[in-house]
């Protein structure tokens, strides 16, 4: 029996060494971000291209879920900013929407880090819901560095081991794909001919590489169904699964990543706004705003969200709602963008940033008094 156990131990040790070794396999980051090619998630590749290969400035960047992807038309926001603020007309305003479907703050952190560490950004608009999600983003593993996966918080991270066990295969796969990207339909170098452009609009149709993957988003959801869904969700809502005393633990995971985003933005001198864009029928403000207080304005457009005819489904605005929201959000961002255009250095000192935040306008402009 002893030789059997010795050989079993040897095989197990070898397997452990090989699996650990895969974590050190090199690969191309551009290949990694391109590699997710399923439906709208394929927009991850575009996000990387927009940040790294497209020199068009980024005055305003949105990061969020499908709510923002389907609800914010970058071009319409830019138009509204320029119309609302004469100061902004001196040069074009460039707005980009880096949102990806599904809610998970760890992916938002990866996108924000990629953006803020590589580009000068005027304003970062981070989508918020009525409450932070406890879930990790299902796509986190795809664009994450190995260290992001290993160092992710364990509590309460339901996807930690899910991501960890998939890391060796991802590393092997990316290693091979980096060697022969063309064989897997990937590109080693950026090709402008395959680039979707600086401002991709997903409010009318969701598109990937210029191909629509949804029908025209002009459907208006049956108001009675919309209301029924709202009631159902309200009945299912549980904000304190662990009991209110343990909110610090229950929401530790999203708070960890939102804080990292806000800290990095602060370090880079980037103004942050929070776009409150929940599903239909949610309260006028998040239940708990302590995470955002003092870190940036909460932009709301609750009157637009309250119109039943603006919803394609319970979660997503249709193109009519998106058009209204984009115009509103543009006008609300105008003063901030105007100030940035007057400031030569977007990486302004933190004190100046704080002064700008404090000088934001009052309750009638759609911003929350809580942010002041």
């Amino acid at each position: 029996m002893r030789p059997f156990l010795r050989n079993l131990g040897l095989a197990a040790a070898t397997a452990a060494i090989v699996l650990t070794g895969t974590l050190f396999l090199p690969h191309d980051r551009y290949i990694r971000w391109q590699d997710m090619r399923v439906e709208a998630y394929a927009r991850l590749g575009w996000i990387y291209e927009r940040i790294h290969f497209d020199p068009t400035p980024i005055d305003v960047a949105f990061i969020g879920t499908s709510h923002t992807m389907n609800g914010i038309d970058s071009a319409a926001v830019a138009d509204a900013i320029m119309r609302a603020s004469p100061a902004s007309r001196a040069r074009p305003v460039h707005v980009t929407n880096l949102s990806i479907p599904a809610y998970g703050r760890n992916l938002h952190w990866l996108i924000a880090r990629e953006l803020l560490e590589n580009r000068k950004v005027g304003t970062l608009v981070l989508e918020i819901f009525e409450n932070e999600t406890r879930k990790a983003h299902p796509l986190f593993l795809y664009p994450a560095d190995v260290s992001d996966v290993l160092n992710a918080p364990l509590f309460i991270n339901l996807d930690y081991f899910h991501d960890l066990v998939r890391l060796p295969y991802r590393q092997l796969s990316l290693f091979v794909k980096t060697l022969w990207p063309e064989e897997f339909g990937l590109r080693r170098v950026f090709d402008p001919a395959h680039y979707d452009g600086s401002m991709v609009d997903n409010t009318r149709v969701v598109q990937v590489h210029g191909v629509a993957i949804t029908p025209l988003r002009d459907r208006r959801m049956d108001p009675s169904k919309l209301e029924a869904y709202r009631r159902q969700r309200a009945g299912e809502k549980n904000l304190h699964m662990l009991g209110g005393r343990f909110d610090w633990l229950e929401y530790r995971f999203p708070r960890y990543y939102v804080t990292k985003i806000l800290d990095l933005a602060k370090q880079r001198g980037v103004a942050v706004k929070f776009l409150y864009l929940p599903a239909y029928g949610q309260p006028d403000l998040p239940y708990d705003t302590s995470l955002y207080a003092g870190r940036g304005q909460i932009i709301t457009a609750n009157d637009i969200l309250a119109k039943k005819e603006n919803w394609e489904d319970i979660d997503h605005l249709n193109l009519y709602g998106a058009a209204e929201l984009s115009a509103r959000v543009g006008s609300l961002l105008a003063s901030s963008v105007a100030r940035q255009s007057q400031t030569s250095d977007v990486a302004a000192p933190q004190a100046a940033l704080a002064r700008r935040e404090a000088a934001q306008t009052g309750p009638n402009d759609g911003t929350s008094p809580l942010s002041k």
Binding site: L8, I17, L19
Partner: protein, 484 residues
């Protein structure tokens, strides 16, 4: 519960091994067997607990019928008929009722259905095993009188879901002694090696090949155009996918059996090395071939009633073998096609001259690939689309619109083809055939590898293979033969 899942490999299996061997070491071998039977039921119930009573009823009923057959002075023929009707009745209801009624409805214009029926996992396998048991008991009157031994013969979890289809005379004596005899550490090593190799065949090879085959068959079944290159890619990828998938499962089953001290029969012996279809069926799903031969072909008369009757018997046997795989016309036609192949093969043996080796291998392999297209396609039109594209090149205008498979796909195919055609199979690699005399694979040439590296080198190599398996394990694919 899939063999290739974390919950099985790191949860169920260690607990089952610890419980069984723990009781065995304490000298409580009957308790060890009861534990193993209960663990097997738990394994089955993990899939759908509602079907556990069905398995228990089936096992209990067949055990009781076996006792009746073994009783002195019993009228064996009617009892056997009752037993076979009971087993085929269950199989017929769960597997063929809707197929039958749908076709009757198509002919008569009536709307006949018994509603949606979920096929109980492994029903085709445990039904055949129990029919074999009843037939053998009716022949010699030797019934199993220990319910736990009989239960393990049917529900022993390594072979419960997808075989090998075991024979009562080779298994019941083993289960009688299970838990009582010491386990050879050498066989444990062979078992562990087969488990790792089987996992690799399934997780690393078959699941990768599925990515090449599935889109082609999906396109063909959806009436889309398929280019000649795509059709060959789909057909060949599925040919090797099915082999690595099913033989991988069989390797795992044998390996798991050995970890509990049980020898299961060899089920695959490098089938794609065959030089004739007759040889193919001696190498492919060997335990099914044995069942079909022993319980359908030979009772029909086999080759004892003249050549013409022999060929009819072959067609009937293979047609039923096709239907055993699934309730669908494509399976029936696949079975009949192989029946036809066997008839032609036997006629050639009688009247023709032996073909040169490359030609014999090529014709056999090609015939097999054509058969697998029918086997895999969900619709006849899908199968015809692929077969047409394989053998009738598309017009240039149509062909240019279709993307050719990338070189990496062809390289993958070449690698798996080389593996299945030129390397020793897993049974030969671990030398398992030596430990299982008189099993059904004794009719095929298995040549255990004689020159072996040191056990440390083998352990390291298996460790590397295990690492690849664990890397790919988190997203397991379903075993193809679970569908049958």
């Amino acid at each position: 519960m899939l063999f290739n899942s974390f919950v099985f490999l790191f949860g169920f299996l260690p607990l089952a091994l610890a419980g069984y061997h723990g009781l065995r070491h304490l000298g409580r071998h009957e308790s060890a067997k009861v534990f193993l039977a209960l663990a097997s039921l738990f394994f089955y119930g993990w899939w759908d607990v509602r079907y556990v009573p069905l398995v228990i009823i089936s096992v209990a009923a067949n055990f009781a019928i076996g006792l009746l057959l073994g009783a002195k002075g019993a009228a064996r023929a009617p009892v056997l008929a009752l037993g076979i009707i009971f087993n085929l009745g269950l199989l017929g209801y769960y597997k063929y009722a809707n197929f039958f009624l749908t076709n009757v409805g198509d002919i008569t214009g009536l709307s006949l259905t018994v509603g949606a029926i979920v096929l109980p996992l492994g029903i085709s396998f445990f039904t055949f095993q129990q029919i074999a048991y009843l037939v053998e008991t009716a022949r010699d009157g030797r019934c199993e009188r220990n319910f736990i031994n009989y239960s393990l013969f049917v529900i022993f979890f390594p072979h419960l879901i997808a075989g090998p289809i075991t024979h009562p005379r080779e298994m019941l004596p083993q289960f009688d002694l299970a838990g009582a005899r010491p386990i050879d550490a050498g066989l444990l090593q062979v078992g562990m090696a087969l488990l790792i190799i089987g996992l690799a065949k399934k997780v690393v090879l078959a699941d990768t090949l599925a990515l090449l085959a599935n889109p082609v068959f999906a396109s063909a079944d959806a009436a889309a155009t398929v280019s000649s290159a795509q059709a060959w890619m789909g057909a060949l990828a599925y040919t090797f996918q099915l082999y690595f998938d099913f033989s991988g499962y069989s390797d795992m089953a044998i390996g798991l059996g050995l970890l509990f001290g049980i020898n299961l029969p060899v089920n695959f012996a490098s089938p794609y090395k065959s030089m004739s279809i007759v040889e193919f069926w001696r190498r492919w799903h060997i335990t099914l071939s044995r069942f079909l031969r022993n319980y359908i072909y030979i009772p029909l008369g086999g080759n004892r009633k003249g050549h013409a009757r022999r060929y009819v018997n072959l067609m009937i046997t293979m047609g039923l073998g096709g239907l055993w795989h699934g309730a669908g016309w494509t399976f029936l036609v696949w079975g009949l096609l192989h029946g036809g192949y066997l008839v032609v093969n036997n006629l050639w043996f009688r009247f023709g001259r032996p073909l040169p080796t490359p030609l014999a291998w090529g014709a056999t392999f090609l015939a097999t690939v054509v058969g697998w297209v029918l086997f895999r396609a969900a619709t006849f039109s899908g199968a015809v689309t692929i077969l047409t594209a394989m053998f009738v090149p598309a017009a240039p205008a149509a062909a240019t619109a279709i993307t050719a498979p990338p070189a990496v796909d062809w390289l993958t195919l070449a690698a798996v083809a080389a593996l299945s055609l030129f390397s020793p199979n897993s049974i030969e690699l671990v030398g398992y055939a030596h430990s299982m005399p008189n099993d059904p694979s004794d009719r095929v040439p298995l040549n255990p590898v004689r020159r072996r590296p040191s056990s440390a080198v083998v352990a390291i190599a298996l460790g590397v293979v295990a690492a690849l398996v664990f890397a790919k394990l988190p997203d397991p694919g379903i075993f193809l033969y679970f569908n049958f």
